[in-house]
């Protein structure tokens, strides 16, 4: 209904240094290939958005797609098994949102040995792990949000920040946090008071925020995951702290609504729908041995009140009416 997704502005990082480019997928696959897609989970609208891109693109290109989710970031062994199952089921290619890029390296080698092309999507991987991938570096993403915060801060304003990066040990939480800290370190007025890791559920984050409001009375910036921001809205209202700046390190439906209501300052996006779609195209190109961009990096952006009208929203989130499908049959 909206504007077409492609050509989409991206960075081509195949050579190691990002170069601005545009991505345009193939119109149709030569044959109805079978592509296996592995996600860490489908428990939030972020991964649903990636799935949306995957499904739409698979339908558009006329390939078979089966999607498996591991049920959460704590289930690496399950993703490993699912990877094995994908290879055993005779998939032509595998698209993987890795729970741990490092943890899947052996599987990537096996797939390579078996001649099954693998594409990495959304979650970062060790360099040159795969013949094709598309993701934003999480550290870079964290940096973007930090820069977004600094850009919005008044010149003399002291920023007392507590970060809520997400679950300790997930990898992505740590990377986000690191990037964010790197960015805000550029402003001497910005201080990190504390880092509160915790499961990225609203209830857990809420408890952390409530405690942080007590533990750090001078805190005036809450930076964290989307559920953190969601939980923070209510907690901050209750604590009577309308001055609190809330920033989310990634996007979901609630963030968009909250931004529109003015409850949060900003959130970051990496265009997950676009990532999903590009991954399918990369997979088809690998199967058909067509030229493929080795590392695509969507241009991560901070969305705030001023930029929200300019953003192509159907590259950020799946439509609210869309319910995930786990398999696509080529017509």
């Amino acid at each position: 209904a909206d504007a077409p997704w492609f050509p989409m502005k991206i960075y081509d990082s195949s050579s190691g240094t990002p170069k601005p480019a545009e991505y345009t997928p193939l119109a149709k696959a030569e044959k109805p290939h079978t592509i296996c897609v592995l996600f860490p989970h489908m428990k939030d609208s972020f991964w649903v958005a990636v799935a949306y891109g995957v499904v739409k693109q698979a339908q558009a290109m006329g390939v078979n797609m089966n999607l498996y989710e591991a049920g959460g970031y704590e289930n690496l062994p399950k993703q490993l098994s699912q990877f094995d199952d994908c290879m055993a089921s005779g998939a032509d290619a595998i698209v993987v949102g890795a729970i741990s890029g490092a943890g899947l390296m052996k599987k990537f080698e096996e797939a390579k040995a078996k001649g099954i092309p693998v594409v990495g999507v959304t979650n970062p991987l060790p360099p040159d792990a795969l013949p094709a991938a598309n993701y934003v570096d999480f550290t870079a993403m964290g940096e973007v949000t930090g820069e977004g915060l600094l850009a919005q801060a008044k010149p003399d304003e002291a920023l007392n920040i507590v970060t809520f990066p997400g679950p300790a040990g997930s990898g992505w939480a740590e990377s986000f946090n690191e990037g964010f800290k790197k960015a805000v370190a550029k402003n001497p007025k910005a201080k990190i008071l504390g880092e509160k890791f915790g499961d990225s559920g609203v209830a857990v984050q809420l408890q952390l925020i409530q405690d942080a409001l007590q533990a750090y009375p001078s805190m005036n910036v809450i930076w964290g995951t989307a559920p953190t921001a969601e939980a923070a809205i209510g907690a901050v209202q209750e604590a009577g702290r309308p001055d609190m700046k809330i920033i989310s390190s990634y996007e979901n439906q609630a963030m968009l609504d909250a931004l529109n209501r003015g409850d949060i300052l900003a959130f970051a996006t990496q265009y997950p729908v676009g990532e999903g779609a590009i991954a399918i195209d990369q997979a088809v190109r690998l199967i058909e041995k067509k030229p493929v961009m080795k590392l695509v990096q969507p241009i991560a952006a901070v969305i705030d009140k001023t930029t929200v009208p300019k953003v192509q929203m159907d590259l950020v989130l799946a439509p609210a009416s869309w319910t995930p499908v786990y398999s696509v049959k080529a017509k």
């Binding site: 049920g71 690496l76 062994p77 005779g90 490092a102 943890g103 390296m105 997930s170």
Partner: protein, 333 residues
């Protein structure tokens, strides 16, 4: 018992029926495989069967670890976090060894020492708290669950630890003998040894008696506390071995590797027929349970059943498996 079992049972083919009930779980396994194969023949392909065997070997190892403590009426909630901790610890040790330019053999030894050392430490903690301080296994292992998670994430900084040498991965994962991958070989070997330990040694005998009647065991002069401590150490050591194998499989130390393994392993053990009331079960029940769970999820993946539906089916099957086991026992009397 068979000598007094001669009286006819009400059903037509008593012997056959009895056999069917006794071997219910293995039969169900085969039927399950066939049912999945009917949807997708690839389920029965050699590659997939090997795949199933390999996946089972990890879970079976963890289920065996749980089984030994379940035999004593306990369980180990900390098994998963122990796996994470061992994975991170071993990877860090090996990475530092590689960085220091040590000989590959030495690096390997460092990894094994760190991994098993952490596992044994964890088991000693669990065992000591349970046996000597009299804390219930639930609380004790919930405590070490938290502690191990904390250690794993702190040691690793929350990130995968890279730099696991190839030799290690080859030994515990990539290698194979006669086409059989290392993981299967190791699990089979451990299974056989553990089976012999449980059935042929004084320790194994004591384990069953303690699980059946701990007071009687104490009155009969068995060193109940020492055996309990040893059992928790055995459990954590098996977990550490599994963790090393999984670390070889991932090629990196993963702070989240254990995740939800604790409950999965307990479920596998119990579905296979290990009794949470203690004193009943063994290597066989652990392996059958692990096979059951693995085949189920492999089959559902290959036949493209939605993830959420899989969770519902898995839940129902776990219950059904245990019901089947109960009927089997009842019939045996």
């Amino acid at each position: 018992m068979s000598d007094i079992d001669a009286a006819p049972s009400p059903s037509g083919l008593p012997a056959l029926r009895r056999l069917a009930v006794q071997a219910a779980l293995p039969i169900a396994l085969v039927l399950l495989l066939l049912a999945f194969a009917a949807v997708d023949m690839r389920v029965l392909s050699l590659a997939n069967l090997l795949n199933i065997a390999q996946q089972t070997s990890y879970l079976a190892l963890f289920a065996m670890a749980q089984t030994v403590v379940i035999l004593t009426r306990g369980f180990d909630l900390a098994l998963g976090p122990t796996v994470s901790m061992v994975s991170v610890g071993a990877a860090l040790a090996m990475a530092s060894g590689v960085a220091a330019g040590y000989d590959p053999g030495l690096v390997l030894l460092m990894g094994l020492a760190a991994g098993f050392g952490l596992g044994i430490a964890c088991g000693t903690f669990n065992g000591a708290v349970i046996a000597l301080l009299g804390v219930s296994p639930f609380v004790a292992t919930l405590g070490s669950y938290n502690i191990a998670i904390g250690i794993a994430t702190t040691l690793s900084g929350g990130r995968p630890v890279q730099g696991v040498p190839d030799l290690f991965s080859h030994l515990f994962y990539g290698g194979s003998i006669a086409g059989i991958p290392a993981a299967i070989l190791i699990a089979a070997l451990v299974g056989i040894v553990l089976h012999l330990v449980l059935t042929r040694t004084v320790y194994g005998r004591a384990l069953y008696v303690i699980g059946t009647n701990p007071r009687a065991a104490a009155v009969a002069g068995l060193p109940v506390k020492a055996i309990l401590v040893a059992t928790y150490i055995l459990c954590s050591t098996l977990a550490a071995l599994g963790a090393l194998m999984m670390t070889a499989r991932t090629g990196s130390g993963e702070p989240n590797l254990g995740g939800s393994l604790s409950l999965q392993a307990i479920a596998a053990a119990v579905v296979g027929g290990t009794s949470l009331a203690g004193g009943r079960g063994g290597v066989g029940t652990a392996v059958v349970g692990a096979l059951f769970v693995t085949i189920l999820s492999n089959g559902m993946n290959l036949t493209r059943i939605d993830g959420y539906v899989q969770m519902v089916v898995l839940g129902a099957i776990v219950i059904a498996g245990v019901v089947l086991d109960r009927i089997r026992l009842e019939q045996r009397g």
